[in-house]
C-alpha cells in the first residue's frame, strides 16, 4: 500500500500548497509512489487516514490549535512547510500590536466577534519532524524531503547560508551595488533565488543556526541603514525573534 500524504493549511496565503501543485511534471511520478488524500487546492476528497502531514501556515486561533493537535495524533510524521508555519513569517508582525488593536484594524467594529490569538509557529504547538523553510517553499526541497521520507533517509537542514548559495551562483553581491541583504545570516536551501533575480534576501528561511545577529546589525549600520530600518528588515519575516533583546 502506498504511503498517504496530506496537505493542511492554516493562517497563510496557501502559496506553499500552490508550489507543490506547480510541480506539474513531477506530481504524476510522485503519485506512483504515494497517495495524496488531502490537498484542498487540488482535490475534493478529504480523509482522516494519512501517514505524512504537510502543514502550512501559522497558528492563530484556538480552533487551529485543536486542529493541528489532531493532525499530530493521526500522522506518523508532520512536516511544517513555509515561513508562516516554520518561523511565523510575515504573520508574526501581528504580535507587535495589542490584539484588540489588530482586530479593529482588520475587521473594524466586527472585530469583537473574532477569536484570534498572537501568532505561533507550528512547532510552538506540536512537535514536528522537519521544518521546510521559505516563502514560498522550494519545489526542489519538497521533492527531496518527500523522497527522503519514502526512503527513510534522515532529514537535515542546510547548514550553509543564502550567501554561500549566492556565491555558488556567481552573482554580483548586492552590497557591491549599494544595496543591503540578509543572505549572510539566513539559512540556505533556496539556491539564493531572490538575489539571483535581483531582489535582496529578506530572511524568509529564518536565521541560520548560531547566526551572528549583532555582526549583521553592524554591517547594516555601516551600510547606512537607520536603527528603525534595521529593525524592520529583521521583523519582515523574523518577527517572532525578539529583536531588541538579541541586539545592542
Amino acid at each position: 500500500m502506498k504511503p498517504k500524504l496530506a496537505m493542511f493549511s492554516f493562517t497563510s496565503c496557501e502559496g506553499c500548497q500552490l508550489q507543490i501543485l506547480n510541480l506539474e511534471k513531477e506530481l504524476l511520478e510522485i503519485l506512483n509512489a504515494v497517495e495524496i488524500v488531502n490537498f484542498r487546492e487540488a482535490i475534493d476528497q478529504k480523509s482522516q487516514d494519512y501517514d505524512v502531514a504537510f502543514v502550512e501556515g501559522s497558528i492563530t486561533t484556538q480552533k487551529e490549535i485543536e486542529e493541528v493537535k489532531d493532525i499530530r495524533q493521526k500522522a506518523k510524521a508532520v512536516v511544517a512547510i513555509g515561513s508562516c508555519a516554520c518561523i511565523g513569517g510575515i504573520n508574526a508582525m501581528k504580535n507587535f500590536f495589542p490584539i484588540d488593536f489588530v482586530k479593529k484594524q482588520v475587521y473594524g467594529e466586527m472585530g469583537k466577534y473574532f477569536d484570534t490569538l498572537p501568532v505561533q509557529k507550528v512547532s510552538d504547538v506540536i512537535p514536528v519532524e522537519y521544518e521546510m523553510h521559505g516563502c514560498p517553499i522550494s519545489k526542489k526541497e519538497f521533492l527531496s524531503v518527500t523522497k527522503n521520507l519514502l526512503l527513510g533517509v534522515p532529514l537535515k537542514q542546510p547548514h550553509y547560508s543564502v550567501c554561500t548559495e549566492c556565491k555558488m551562483a556567481g552573482n554580483v553581491c548586492l552590497y557591491d551595488k549599494g544595496e543591503t541583504c540578509l543572505g549572510a545570516i539566513t539559512r540556505g536551501g533556496c539556491e539564493a533565488v531572490c538575489p539571483t533575480f535581483g531582489d535582496s534576501c529578506h530572511g524568509c528561511r529564518g536565521l541560520g543556526e548560531e547566526a551572528n545577529i549583532q555582526g549583521m546589525v553592524e554591517v547594516l549600520r555601516a551600510n547606512g541603514l537607520t536603527e528603525a530600518e534595521i529593525k524592520n528588515k529583521f521583523s519582515y519575516f523574523n518577527g517572532l525573534m525578539n529583536f531588541s533583546e538579541v541586539t545592542k
Binding site: S144, H159, Y160, K167, D176, N212
Partner: protein
C-alpha cells in the same frame, strides 16, 4: 617558444575561429562585474577584466558535480561519472594560473580525483599577464603570484594596440598549428622578446605595491604565535559565517557529498557541492560533536589551513593573493589586515622578551 603579435582588432576574428572548434571559457561582463564562464560570441570576451567573481579553476571542479550514478536495486549498475572535453580557458590571470597549479597538485595526489583530472586533461590555458593590480585588496605582489613562470600553454602580454603571444607548451603549439593560417597571416612579432619582457616588468614594478609590513616567508611563524590571541575573537565577532570567502577562493577545495535519488526511487547520483569551513556544520561529525563550533575557531582554521598547515605539510601556501575573499566580505575581514596584525603581535612579543 613561439612568439606572435596579435593586434587587438584581430581578437574577435581569432575568437570566431576558436569558437567553431572548442568550448571556450573566459571573462565576460555580468552586471557591474565579471564572471569566468563559457563564451558563446566573440564579443563577449573581455580581456580588459579586472577579476572574476568565481575563479577559472572552478571549471575543473564545478559545484553540484555528479560523481557516480547508482541504482538502489542493482549495485552492479554503479558507474563513475567523468566529463572529458577539450576546452580552452582564455585570459587567465597569473594569480589564477598559480591557483590552478596548486589545485592540480592537490587533486593529483593519491587518491587521485578522477573527476577533476578528466576535466583538466588537455585543457588549453591561455594566460593574460597583468600590467597593474586588479584592486586594492590583493596580495599578489607580496606573494609573487602577480606573475606565472609556468602553468599555461600560451601567455598574452598586453601592449597598447595588441598582445604579444608567447607559446610555451606542446598544447600551445598544437593550438597555434591548428590555427596556423590565422597566426601566419595576421601576426608577426619583430621585436626582441627579452627587451619587451624587461620593459613590461619594470612597468609592473611601478604599478604593484606590497601590502604587508614583513616578508611573506615570515608569515607562518608569525601566525603560529597568534593561535591563542585575542585577534581571532575579534575576527570571530565580526564574521557572519556566510561562507562567501571560501566559495570565491581559487584554492579552496573542500566539498560535501550527498546522494540525489530520482523520483522513481531507484536511480540516482552521488554529487558533491563546494563546502565552506566557515559554515557551522563543516566540522560537525557523526556523533554530533562539532570541532570548531565558534566562529573564531573557524576563522583561525581558514587562515591556518592556508598559511600554516599547507606550507608545513605540502611546502606551498594555500593562498595566491587574488584578493577575492577580501573583496567579497561584507563584514570587512581582510587577510591583509590579519597578516599585518600577526606581524605586529610577533614584534610586540619579541620586544617584551
Amino acid at each position: 617558444m613561439e612568439l606572435y603579435f596579435l593586434p587587438k582588432s584581430k581578437i574577435n576574428l581569432l575568437m570566431e575561429e576558436i569558437l567553431g572548434e572548442f568550448t571556450v571559457f573566459g571573462p565576460k561582463q555580468k552586471d557591474i562585474q565579471f564572471v569566468f564562464e563559457e563564451i558563446s560570441h566573440p564579443e563577449e570576451l573581455r580581456l580588459d577584466y579586472n577579476t572574476s567573481i568565481l575563479p577559472p579553476v572552478k571549471t575543473f571542479f564545478p559545484n553540484n558535480e555528479k560523481l557516480i550514478a547508482f541504482n538502489l536495486n542493482n549495485i552492479d549498475k554503479t558507474e563513475i561519472v567523468t566529463n572529458e572535453n577539450r576546452k580552452i580557458l582564455f585570459g587567465v590571470h597569473p594569480c589564477d594560473i598559480n591557483a590552478i597549479k596548486m589545485m592540480d597538485e592537490i587533486f593529483a595526489k593519491p587518491p587521485q580525483d578522477e573527476h577533476y583530472l578528466a576535466r583538466r586533461k588537455e585543457t588549453i590555458i591561455i594566460g593574460l599577464n597583468c600590467k597593474k593590480p586588479c584592486g586594492e585588496k590583493t596580495l599578489c605582489y607580496d606573494k609573487g603570484t602577480y606573475k606565472a613562470d609556468s602553468g599555461f600553454d600560451l601567455m598574452f602580454w598586453e601592449t597598447h594596440d595588441g598582445y604579444v603571444v608567447q607559446v610555451v607548451s606542446n598544447l600551445g603549439k598544437y593550438f597555434t598549428a591548428k590555427f596556423s593560417y590565422f597566426f601566419n597571416f595576421f601576426t608577426e612579432f619583430t621585436e626582441n622578446f627579452y627587451d619587451f619582457v624587461d620593459n613590461f616588468q619594470s612597468e609592473q614594478e611601478q604599478n604593484f605595491t606590497k601590502k604587508l609590513t614583513h616578508n611573506i616567508f615570515e608569515l607562518p611563524e608569525a601566525l603560529r604565535e597568534t593561535y591563542d590571541s585575542e585577534l581571532w575573537h575579534e575576527i570571530g565577532a565580526k564574521c557572519l559565517s556566510c561562507g562567501s570567502c571560501n566559495i570565491v577562493c581559487p584554492t579552496c577545495y573542500c566539498f560535501d557529498v550527498h546522494d540525489v535519488v530520482d523520483l522513481d526511487l531507484e536511480g540516482g547520483h552521488r554529487c558533491r557541492n563546494w563546502d565552506s569551513c566557515q559554515n557551522i556544520g563543516f566540522a560537525c561529525v557523526g556523533s554530533g560533536e562539532n570541532f570548531r563550533e565558534k566562529s573564531s575557531q573557524r576563522n583561525r582554521h581558514r587562515v591556518f589551513k592556508k598559511e600554516v598547515y599547507l606550507p608545513q605539510n605540502q611546502g606551498f601556501s594555500g593562498c595566491v593573493g587574488c584578493g577575492r575573499c577580501n573583496n567579497v566580505c561584507i563584514a570587512g575581514i581582510s587577510l591583509i589586515e590579519i597578516y599585518n596584525r600577526a606581524f605586529e603581535l610577533q614584534k610586540n612579543q619579541e620586544e617584551q622578551k
